[in-house]
């Protein structure tokens, strides 16, 4: 290629490189420091290279790692339920918006506003209301409810994009071919929007897993991961927290990659089945 790049190309590339550095640099620091040697501290330089802090995390018997194991299980449980509800409610909301209905705009904007309102006040408001009603917050209703105010708007937007992109004539064709509204949903709409539906589940899970502003005051007894970590990081004296960071990142990556692989193999299997029929 003999064409000369313009100056803006280099400027923008530099900006992008700086952006990447700021985005991933700190995380890379955390991952590196989690492999700190036994004598090492919470900052550079690295004093050797070991898995000591991972070992500490699982064998310390609570020393310096608080209730991290139980909080992880709680987060996982909460995340799975929030993800499932986000997916189901998001799907229902998305389907309802394919036709205009009275009050539709109100539903839409009230959901969008929930993305803008500061989470800590949403959490506080819910907690205050419960208090006035004389109810004790528990993870399985107020905790889940508080997190849904955060995850649902995202699910709704995902559905709007997915359904907005879907050609309306698919549904009309299905109607024309005799499908009832449920059969339309089962045989045409759902298979077509399945990637988006899985996306809603994942968005629901990730937004719950890292959320504490809303859930914090409404979770009842028993911290979730982000709450436990916030507490621990303030008093941390060893790199064991970094090991938690590395593992939880690894966990999220595994989750995402597994999901991708699953949907990829699903498509592959369908293809194989077709060619098998053909043979």
């Amino acid at each position: 290629m003999g064409t000369k790049r313009s100056a803006s190309y280099y400027v923008l590339s530099a900006v992008f490189a700086v952006f990447l550095l700021f985005l991933y640099g700190p995380m890379i620091c955390v991952y590196l420091l989690s492999f700190q040697g036994p004598e090492g501290g919470m900052s550079f330089p690295m004093r050797g290279f070991s898995l000591t802090w991972f070992e500490t995390l699982f064998t310390a018997g609570g020393r310096g790692v608080g209730d991290i194991h139980n909080s992880f299980v709680r987060s996982l449980r909460l995340g799975a339920i929030v993800a499932l509800l986000t997916m189901l409610i998001g799907l229902a909301v998305g389907m309802s918006f394919r036709r205009r209905y009275p009050g539709g705009n109100f539903v839409f904007y009230s959901a969008i506003i929930s993305m803008i309102v500061p989470g800590i006040f949403v959490g506080f408001g819910i907690s205050l209301t419960l208090n006035m009603l004389g109810m004790r917050p528990e993870w399985w209703y107020s905790g889940i409810g508080a997190q849904l105010t955060w995850s649902l708007p995202f699910a709704m937007l995902i559905m709007f994009i997915i359904l907005g992109r879907m050609d309306k004539s698919y549904e009309e064709a299905a109607t024309d071919l005799g499908a009832s509204s449920f059969q339309r949903f089962q045989y045409v709409i759902l298979p077509l929007i399945l990637p988006g539906v899985i996306g809603m589940f994942m968005a629901g899970f990730t937004s719950s897993y890292e959320e504490s502003a809303r859930a914090g005051l409404n979770i009842g007894t028993g911290n979730t991961m982000p709450m436990e970590l916030t507490g621990l990081l303030g008093a941390a004296t060893t790199p064991v927290m970094f090991a938690v960071g590395t593992l939880t990142t690894l966990f999220m990556f595994t989750l995402v990659i597994t999901t991708l692989l699953a949907s990829w193999s699903l498509a592959k299997r369908r293809q194989l089945r077709l060619s098998a029929q053909h043979a």
Binding site: A173, A174, D176, G178, S180, Y187, L192, L274
Partner: protein, 351 residues
């Protein structure tokens, strides 16, 4: 394209299923004073009435926004009828569900389900009816044969060309054994070569099956080539409905004459007449009307040459002259000529 002559399309649609013929029914489709307006606003379709005879190929022809697609969608049941009635095989289906009217629609985008193979797309309506897998796939294969697509039955829609997708869409519609097949601009997405090929195919299948096709198009060429009944629409109204020859030779008004093409609309002594371009000459004719004009453009079209002229008032006309006549004495752009026609070639238009 090889046409499988052994294949008997009629077999796929036993007469009893297609038309319970009691002798009384002369029309497959009757549209009675049908109107469509949205939210009480302007009428997209304004009180149209039309009767489509049995087993005919009918084209709804008009510019975009004339109401032809809305009319088709009202026939299909995908659009509600504001006023009037729709009858199919003598049965009032105005408020009937799309699948209960005996119509089937082929969408402009074909609307093949992207997650299903060609075969499963065609078998879809049978699956809905609860037909067993082996049986419905065998049936679907028969209909894929009808459109010569059996060899690509296991492809996904994305792996098919536009023309192939259209054939699958056609098979998917026909397997429902419609009394009337509705086609929404079926050829507009194809390249010109394929368009002519598929046009012939559509007509062949319509003739073989003996059912009515209602075909929406904005191409007058397509409408003239296919139709038993051409319906020219404009502004939500039917301008003219008649045989292709009638519409071409006897356009009722200036709009039809201009839209169908190949006509000059000329004002003669306060009357509006149309004169077919192929009846016009650019030499003085004895006993005819002669207009002094200047040649502005010449288009060679093979067997014919189209000559555009401008008269002294700047009005434009065109003449179509056979190539042999043209090359005997070829005019050039800018040449002063006599644009002429004979009185018997004038066709009186409605004011």
């Amino acid at each position: 394209m090889k046409i499988d002559t052994d294949f008997n399309a009629k077999k796929l649609m036993p007469e009893a299923d297609v038309a319970p013929d009691d002798g009384a029914q002369k029309y497959d489709v009757e549209i009675v004073a049908v109107s469509k307006s949205y939210d009480g606003g302007a009428k997209a379709v304004d009180t149209i009435s039309l009767r489509i005879p049995k087993a005919s190929y009918c084209c709804l022809l008009g510019p975009s926004g004339c109401g032809k697609t809305t009319t088709l969608r009202m026939l299909a049941g995908h659009e509600s009828v504001t006023d009037g009635d729709v009858l199919i095989h003598n049965k009032n289906v105005t408020d009937g569900a799309p699948s209960a009217r005996g119509t089937s629609m082929m969408f402009q985008s074909y609307a093949l389900f992207p997650h299903l193979s060609a075969l499963d797309n065609v078998a879809f309506s049978l699956k809905i009816k609860g037909v067993k897998k082996a049986e419905r796939q065998a049936k679907a294969m028969e209909f894929l044969k009808l459109v010569q697509m059996e060899h690509l039955a296991h492809r996904m829609p994305a792996q098919l060309s536009g023309g192939q997708q259209q054939r699958v869409a056609l098979a998917r519609s026909l397997i429902t054994r419609p009394k009337v097949l509705l086609l929404d601009e079926p050829l507009s997405a194809l390249d010109p070569f394929l368009r002519v090929l598929m046009r012939t195919e559509l007509k062949r299948i319509q003739t073989e099956l003996g059912i009515t096709f209602v075909h929406v198009t904005h191409s007058q060429e397509e409408a003239l080539a296919l139709s038993d009944l051409v319906v020219v629409m404009s502004d939500g109204q039917i301008m003219q409905a008649g045989s292709a020859r009638d519409v071409f030779e006897k356009p009722t008004n200036a709009f039809v004459a201009k839209f169908i093409g190949g006509h000059n609309v000329i004002e003669v002594e306060g009357r509006k007449v149309s004169v077919r371009a192929d009846k016009c000459r650019i030499v003085e004719s004895v006993g005819g009307t002669n207009l002094p004009a200047e040649v502005t453009s010449i288009e060679y079209q093979g067997p014919m040459v189209r000559i555009l002229v401008k008269d002294l008032d700047g009005k434009e006309y065109h003449a179509q002259i056979s190539d042999s006549r043209f090359f005997a004495d070829p005019p050039v752009v800018g040449e002063k000529v006599m644009f002429s026609w004979m009185p018997e070639d004038e066709w009186q238009l409605a004011a």
